[in-house]
Amino acid sequence: MSRIAECFNRLGGQKALIPFITAGDPNPKLTVDLMLGLVDGGADIIELGVPFSDPMADGPVIQRASERALKHHVSLAQVLEMVAAFRLENSHTPVVLMGYLNPVCAMGFQRFAERAAASGVDGVLTVDCPPEEAEELTGALNAAGLDPIFLVAPTTPPERVARIGRLARGYVYYVSLKGVTGAGHLDIAEVTGKIAALRESIPVPIGVGFGIRDAETARALASSADAIVVGSRLVQEIEAAEPQAAKQRLARLVAELKSAIR
């Protein structure tokens, strides 16, 4: 059983909190420590953003995080090293890489999958790789024992949801709004209804994210979703904090979110 499946098993119906930070933000030396801070606060799974020069699906907050990391030339290979370093301290919290396809293409699917698995990565979400183009990548990921994580959007028609349900491992990431990460127009009732409908064809847990900015929204969505993903709000915290205070501030915010969805 994958570490992600184990994690949901262990939670036994309790909701998972999945915080997101960008690897290398604000600098590469801090990332492992910030990941440990997320776990201290109560993170169940960590989504670790792989910086990319052209983050087309991200709002300004995560774009800036990517730019800060790229100032330090953080590469996909380095991100894998960070995960390996995190694994020396923590062997139970699943890590999902979230990013864009091109850095993965540049490394080569096969080589990436093998190195990611060896580094202790558990799942991979490539934002700009829909199922239509994902065959080769998911093949490599599955062969290496990594979970391919897919997005489902408010605009995804039922037949595509079913197709994604057949490919998805680990969990499915439901995009709570039409927009980029960190946008601010999430409709809780609508999302709740959608998630209920997704259950018919999605056999894995359903996480929800994009635009969850506070404990109250997290709590409201946790009544229908299996997991809550919070990204931009945490990245803002990193952006606002002095580097030495970032870990503590992240842990505090994660704890607040976690207690809200308990």
Partner: protein, 399 residues
């Protein structure tokens, strides 16, 4: 090459193209594909498109024999396809009319566009005014500085120009931002993509609306010289004017096809915008194609004296044509393009766009070693009025 019939149903030209976007946009692209399939089979759609091209754009655009320049070069005869004479001053309007007609069929009241040199932005603002649609144009703040006349033109036409401050602040970042707008306003908004790149069906759509360039040439050249040209040549940024000229010639044997990329300060460094000449395949902006990227797969900031060619990717069909050998791609650097710009001004009385000057420079370089009865047909894709500030600046003159 027989039975050239690309892309496939998934938008692939060989291993290039495809649809690489976040899930939220998949339904919109599917809707666009379906609507275009209906429009494509509807004679009334094409009748209106052709009517607009004739009476609003002023097509067919003429082909002009650049006699004095050819004479001065002493070799092949250079002919110019005068896309610079189109309404709005470039080939871009052929595509924006087609896409705006599609937007109208789909009931979209708001259009968005990305622009580099501003030509596509102007062409989008123009058709939005013409069809009564709201228009937002995304433009890198670096390009806004370089192309201020076009920025003002867009505003006069009623468009909102949004400066993009992220990344390298040029065309690629404008495209990212347009995609972000689209994903947010996907129900109300039609994205008029300006080049033959992006996710399927855009590369096919843009090509089909730009094909009119090559189709006219195929009729006009025999009328003028009794045969087809020996070489057709066009500048390639994303590749829309080039694919418009090339596509109808793919099946014509004996016609050499040459695409000219922006060599910037030279291909030996990284200060250029020539992915086909010096890049490697990867995925950006929704499609797979040759890119300017580093070993980690990060996109490199490009450089060209012409904003319209300053793009790190290139349309998937060009990638396919390169690999298949049917077309050849090469680069012209900033200095060579500028020399051709000035020669065209002084010898022919035509101020060409800096983008098109790259294709002109290739012709000027190739002509002397060719026979005097050989013919090079250059796509003069736009006029250079928008570039006069850049040119003056390079000469130390402030206008």
């Amino acid at each position: 090459m027989d039975q050239y019939d690309l892309p496939d149903a998934g938008g692939h030209f060989g291993t290039y193209g495809g649809i690489y976007v976040a899930e939220t946009l998949m339904a919109a692209l599917e809707e666009l594909k379906a609507e275009y399939a209906r429009a494509k089979a509807d004679p009334a759609f094409w009748a209106e498109y052709r009517q607009e091209l004739a009476h609003y754009v002023g097509r067919p655009s003429p082909i002009y024999h650049a006699r004095r320049w050819s004479e001065a070069l002493g070799g092949a005869q250079i002919y110019l396809k005068r896309e610079d004479l189109n309404h709005t001053g470039a080939h871009k309007v052929n595509n924006t009319i087609g896409q705006a007609l599609l937007a109208r069929r789909m009931g979209k009241k708001r259009v968005i566009a990305e622009t580099g040199a501003g030509q596509h932005g102007v062409a989008s603002a123009t058709v939005a005014a013409r069809y009564g649609m709201a228009c937002v144009v995304y433009m890198g703040s670096e390009d806004i500085k370089r192309q201020s006349p076009n920025v003002y033109r867009m505003k006069l036409l009623g468009a909102t120009v949004v400066p993009v401050e992220s990344g390298s602040r040029t065309l690629k970042d404008a495209l990212n931002e347009a995609m972000r707008d689209w994903v947010t306003n996907v129900d109300s908004t039609f994205y008029i993509l300006g080049t033959a790149a992006g996710p399927h069906p855009y590369p096919m759509l843009v090509r089909d609306f730009q094909r009119v360039i090559g189709e006219e040439c195929k009729v006009q050249m025999p009328e003028m010289i009794g045969r087809q040209p020996d070489v057709v040549v066009a500048c390639v940024g994303g590749g829309s004017n080039a694919i418009g000229l090339f596509h109808p010639y793919i099946d014509v044997p004996g016609v050499r096809i040459v695409g000219v990329e922006a060599g910037g300060e030279g291909l030996d460094g990284v200060r250029h915008a020539a992915p086909l000449s010096a890049g490697t395949p990867g995925v950006l902006h929704g499609f797979r194609g040759y890119l300017m990227q580093d070993a980690d797969g990060q996109i490199i900031e490009t450089h060209s004296v012409s904003a319209g060619l300053d793009y790190p990717g290139v349309g998937p069909e060009h990638c396919y044509l390169k690999d298949s050998g049917r077309a050849e791609y090469t680069a012209i650097d900033d200095d060579e393009a500028l020399r051709a710009f000035h020669d065209c001004c002084r010898l022919e009385g035509i101020i060409p766009a800096l983008e098109s000057s790259h294709a002109l420079a290739w012709a000027a370089k190739a002509a002397p070693s060719m026979d005097r009865d050989q013919v090079i047909l250059v796509n003069l894709s736009g006029r250079g009025d928008k570039d006069i500030n850049t040119i003056a600046g390079l000469s130390g003159i402030s206008l």
